[in-house]
C-alpha cells in the first residue's frame, strides 16, 4: 500500500487519519484532499492502491470519488470513513463499489485493526447492511427487468452467511457454525461486496438505457 488517497474535509481528522494510515502502512505516500473535485483530479492523475473517503464533504458526496475510482482504477480499494453508521448512508457507497467502511469515532486501536483487516480482504459487515443486501438481491430477483441484467445472484452459501450476519452472529461465529475457516467466510463477504457492486452497476446501466442515455440503436 504505497499510494493512499485520503479525502477528508476536517483538517484535524485528516491529520489524524493520515497518522493512522502511516501507522498501518509505514511506507505509504498519502495524498490528502479536502474536496471532491481535488480528489477526482488526483484520481485522474495518479494511481492509488487504497483510498479513505469521507462521505459528507463541502462540495458533494464521497460516493462520486468511489465511483470514479471504481471506473478508472478498479484495482484500488475504496474504504468509506464516516461518522454516519446508518445503512442509509453506507449502502449506496457500498453499491458504488466501496470495499468496507470505518466509523471515525472508534478507538484508534480498533480502527487500526479494522483497516488492516480490510486491506487483507476482510471487510466489515453489520447486520443492518446484511439485511439491506438480502433485500436488494431478493427485490432485484422480483423485478422483471432484472432478466436483462447479467445474472448476478448470491450463491446459497453467501445467502446463508448474510442471513446469519443479519441475525447478529459475528463472522468468527458463523465460521464455527458452518465449519469453515475465517478466511473462507471473509472470502464470502468479499464476494458479496463485489456482487453488490456489479449488480448495482448493471442495474444503473439498465436504468440509463431505459432513460435513453445510451441511445437505442
Amino acid at each position: 500500500m504505497d499510494h493512499v488517497l485520503l479525502l477528508e474535509d476536517i483538517p484535524e481528522i485528516r491529520m489524524w487519519l493520515k497518522n493512522l494510515i502511516q501507522q498501518v502502512f509505514t511506507n505509504a505516500r498519502v495524498v490528502e484532499c479536502a474536496r471532491v473535485q481535488d480528489a477526482l483530479l488526483q484520481v485522474g492523475q495518479q494511481r492509488f492502491e487504497l483510498a479513505l473517503i469521507d462521505l459528507g464533504l463541502p462540495d458533494g458526496s464521497g460516493v462520486t470519488v468511489v465511483e470514479a475510482l471504481r471506473d478508472k482504477q478498479p484495482e484500488a480499494q475504496s474504504v468509506i470513513v464516516t461518522i454516519h453508521d446508518d445503512d442509509e448512508h453506507l449502502f449506496p457507497a457500498l453499491q458504488a463499489g466501496a470495499f468496507g467502511y470505518l466509523l471515525k469515532e472508534q478507538a484508534r486501536e480498533l480502527l487500526v485493526e479494522q483497516l488492516q483487516r480490510i486491506s487483507q480482504g476482510e471487510p466489515p459487515l453489520s447486520p443492518s447492511i446484511a439485511r439491506k443486501v438480502i433485500a436488494y438481491f431478493t427485490g432485484q430477483r422480483r423485478m422483471p427487468a432484472a432478466s436483462v441484467v447479467p445474472d448476478v445472484q448470491l450463491t446459497e452459501r453467501e445467502t446463508e452467511v448474510l442471513l446469519r450476519v443479519a441475525k447478529g452472529f459475528t463472522l468468527p461465529e458463523i465460521g464455527v457454525q458452518l465449519g469453515l475457516s475465517r478466511h473462507t467466510i471473509a472470502d464470502y463477504v468479499k464476494q458479496i461486496y463485489r456482487k453488490l457492486n456489479v449488480s448495482s452497476r448493471a442495474e444503473a446501466a439498465l436504468e440509463a438505457q431505459r432513460l435513453g442515455l445510451f441511445g437505442r440503436g
Partner: protein, 596 residues
C-alpha cells in the same frame, strides 16, 4: 250532440241529472205532444214532426185541445226549436226571433191562464229556411214536436234537459278549458315542456267547440265558421302533440300547421252559398281526417315497436294504456267526428272525444308531475353524490396534506440530522481524536454515540423486533468477546413479528449498551448470558453475569458511575421497567421489560 258526456262530471251533478231524468221520464206521459201539423202556404198538407227545415221558411199549424187550460198555468215546451222564428198561440205572439232559434237550447214558453181554451187551440210556428253554411250542422237539425202541459211539470223536464245538454256539456267544456289553461301555463313557464302548449291548444279548441255547439257565447251568424276554425285548431294541436312522440321537433312545422288550421276554414266560408262551399268543407275535413289517421297510425306503430323492444314488456302494459291506447282511442273518436261532420252529420263520438282529450290532458299533467318528481329525485341523488364526492375529496385532501406534512417533517428531520452530523458530530470527532485526555475523548465518543442514537430516533421508521435483536446481538457479542468475556445469547424464535418504534429501539440500545459497559468495566465477570424473550405483550431482555455483583457499599446509590438511574428512567420513558438484582458471589441480573 244529443248525448251528454256525463261520465266524468261531478258525482253530485250526475246524481242530480239521473234523478231529474228519471223524474222526467216518469212524468213524460202527462204533457201533450203535438206530432201532427198542417203546413200553411201553397203546398199545404199534413206533416209529421220532428222534421228538418225546408229550403224556404214555412208556417206550421197545430190544433189541440187542452182540458183545464182556463184554470191553471200551462206551458209550451220546444225541446229542439231548430230555426223557429215566431211562436203564436191562439193568435198571441209569444216569441219572435228573426234568425231562428238554435237547435240546442230547449225553449219553455209560459201560457198564461185564460190563453188556452178547452178545445180548438191553435199553435202556429214559423220555421226559418235552411241556410247551408259550411261547417254548419243545420241540415241534420230537426224541429222536435212541441209539447203542451202544466207549467210546473214541463219546467221540471225543461230544467233536466238543460242540465243534460248545457250543464254537462259546458261543464265538460269548462273542465277541459281549465285543464288547457293549466297545461298552457306549464308549457309557457317550462322551456322544455313547450309541447304542453300543443295539448293545451287542442283541449281549449275542443272546449270552445263544445261551447260553440251550444251557441251561447258567440254571434249566431259566425258560429259555423268558428266551429271550422276550432276544429282545425284542435286537430292541428292534437296531431302535433302526437308528432312530438314520433320525434318531430320543428317549431316552423307547428306554426305552419296552426296557420293552416286557421286559414283553411275561411275558404269554404268565403264561398258560402255556392255549391262548391260544401264540397270544399267536406274536402277540408277529410284532409284533417287523413292527416289524423296517418299520424295516429304512425304513433301507434312507433309506440308498439318501442314497447315490443323494451324490457319488462308485461310490466309496461299499464303505462302502455295511457301512453298509447288513450291517445289512439281519442284519435279514433276525433276521426269519427271529422268523418261525420264531413257529411254534415252529428257524431255520437263527441263525448268520447271530450273524455279522451280530458284524460289525455290529465295524463300530460301527470307526466309532467312525474318528470318533475324524477327531476327532484335526480337532484337529490345528485346532491348526495356531490356530497359524497366532496367528502371523498376532503379526505383525499387531508391525506395529501398529511402526507405532505410528513414529507416536510421528514425532510426537516433529515436536515437536522445532517446538520448535527456535520457540525456537532465533526466537532465531537475532533475532540475524540485530538484530546490529550483519555477521559475527555471517551466522553466525546459517548456524546457522539448519544447524538447518533438521538438522530436515529428522530428520523427512524419502526424497526422489526428480530432485526433489532440481531443488531444488539452483533454489538453485544463482539464487545464482550473483545473484553474476553464469554457471551451466550439466547435469541427470540424466528416467528416473532412485532415491531419497535424507532425511539424504543434507540432507548433499548442505550440501556443494553450501558449494561454491557458496566459488565465490562465493573463486574469482573468471565461469562455473560443475554436472553431475549417475548411474553404476552412484553419484550424482555435479561442480562446476567457471573461477576462480583454490585458491592453492598454501593447499594441504595447504584447510580454512581453505573448509569443505573439513566437505564431505569429510559425504561420508564417507554412505559417499561428495568430491574437490577445483585448479590455478592452470584453476579448481577438486569431484567428489562418493554411493552409491545
Amino acid at each position: 250532440m244529443r248525448s251528454a258526456p256525463a261520465v266524468w262530471a261531478s258525482a253530485l251533478r250526475v246524481g242530480a241529472f239521473l234523478f231529474l231524468l228519471l223524474h222526467a221520464c216518469l212524468a213524460a206521459a202527462t204533457p201533450l205532444v203535438l206530432e201532427q201539423a198542417r203546413l200553411l202556404g201553397p203546398e199545404g198538407g199534413q206533416v209529421q214532426l220532428p222534421r228538418p227545415p225546408g229550403p224556404v221558411a214555412q208556417e206550421l199549424q197545430f190544433r189541440f185541445d187542452h182540458a183545464g187550460g182556463e184554470r191553471e198555468a200551462a206551458a209550451l215546451w220546444l225541446t229542439s226549436p231548430c230555426g223557429v222564428q215566431t211562436v203564436r198561440v191562439n193568435g198571441v205572439t209569444l216569441l219572435q226571433d228573426d234568425t231562428g232559434l238554435p237547435c240546442r237550447g230547449p225553449q219553455l214558453l209560459a201560457l198564461p191562464v185564460g190563453l188556452l181554451g178547452e178545445q180548438g187551440n191553435v199553435l202556429e210556428l214559423r220555421q226559418a229556411a235552411l241556410v247551408q253554411t259550411p261547417f254548419s250542422l243545420a241540415r241534420t237539425e230537426r224541429l222536435a214536436a212541441p209539447q203542451i202541459g202544466r207549467w210546473a211539470e214541463l219546467r221540471q223536464q225543461h230544467r233536466a234537459l238543460v242540465w243534460q245538454r248545457a250543464g254537462l256539456t259546458l261543464g265538460a267544456a269548462g273542465l277541459l278549458a281549465g285543464l288547457a289553461l293549466a297545461l298552457a301555463l306549464l308549457g309557457l313557464t317550462h322551456r322544455w315542456e313547450r309541447r304542453l302548449l300543443l295539448g293545451a291548444t287542442a283541449l281549449l279548441a275542443w272546449a270552445l267547440l263544445l261551447g260553440a255547439e251550444w251557441q251561447v257565447w258567440l254571434p249566431r251568424d259566425h258560429a259555423d265558421l268558428l266551429r271550422g276554425l276550432l276544429l282545425g285548431l284542435c286537430c292541428a294541436g292534437w296531431l302535433l302533440l302526437l308528432g312530438r312522440q314520433l320525434g318531430w321537433r320543428h317549431v316552423r312545422l307547428d306554426f305552419l300547421a296552426l296557420l293552416l288550421a286557421l286559414a283553411l276554414p275561411w275558404l269554404p266560408w268565403a264561398l258560402a252559398g255556392s255549391p262548391m262551399a260544401l264540397t270544399l268543407q267536406a274536402g277540408l275535413l277529410a284532409l284533417w281526417a287523413l292527416a289524423l289517421a296517418l299520424v295516429s297510425g304512425g304513433f301507434v306503430w312507433h309506440r308498439l315497436r318501442l314497447w315490443w323492444h323494451g324490457e319488462a314488456r308485461w310490466l309496461a302494459l299499464r303505462e302502455e294504456w295511457h301512453g298509447t291506447w288513450l291517445p289512439a282511442l281519442t284519435s279514433l273518436g276525433l276521426l269519427a267526428c271529422l268523418l261525420a261532420w264531413a257529411q254534415t252529420q252529428r257524431s255520437p263520438a263527441v263525448p268520447w272525444v271530450t273524455l279522451g282529450l280530458g284524460l289525455a290532458g290529465l295524463s300530460q299533467l301527470f307526466g309532467f308531475a312525474q318528470a318533475r318528481r324524477q327531476a327532484e329525485q335526480h337532484l337529490v341523488s345528485n346532491d348526495e353524490r356531490w356530497q359524497d364526492r366532496l367528502v371523498d375529496f376532503e379526505r383525499q385532501q387531508r391525506a395529501l396534506s398529511e402526507q405532505h406534512l410528513e414529507q416536510v417533517t421528514e425532510r426537516e428531520r433529515k436536515r437536522i440530522a445532517a446538520d448535527l452530523h456535520d457540525d456537532l458530530g465533526a466537532k465531537l470527532l475532533t475532540i475524540v481524536h485530538t484530546s490529550e485526555s483519555e477521559r475527555i475523548s471517551t466522553l466525546a465518543r459517548e456524546a457522539l454515540e448519544e447524538m447518533r442514537l438521538s438522530v436515529r430516533g428522530l428520523t427512524g421508521k419502526p424497526v422489526q423486533l428480530l432485526d433489532a435483536v440481531g443488531d444488539w446481538r452483533a454489538e453485544v457479542v463482539s464487545r464482550l468477546t473483545q473484553a474476553n468475556i464469554e457471551a451466550e445469547w439466547v435469541s427470540l424464535s424466528e416467528d416473532v413479528s412485532y415491531t419497535l418504534p424507532a425511539r424504543a429501539y434507540v432507548q433499548t440500545t442505550r440501556i443494553i449498551r450501558e449494561a454491557i459497559s458496566n459488565i465490562i468495566k465493573h463486574s469482573g465477570a468471565t461469562r455473560c448470558t443475554v436472553r431475549c424473550q417475548v411474553s404476552e405483550d412484553d419484550f424482555q431482555v435479561i442480562l446476567q453475569d457471573n461477576g462480583n455483583g454490585i458491592p453492598s457499599a454501593l447499594d441504595g446509590r447504584l447510580d454512581k458511575g453505573h448509569g443505573m438511574a439513566s437505564m431505569k428512567s429510559r425504561a420508564k420513558q417507554m412505559q417499561g421497567q428495568c430491574l437490577v438484582e445483585s448479590g455478592p458471589g452470584w453476579g448481577t441480573l438486569i431484567r428489562l421489560s418493554i411493552p409491545l
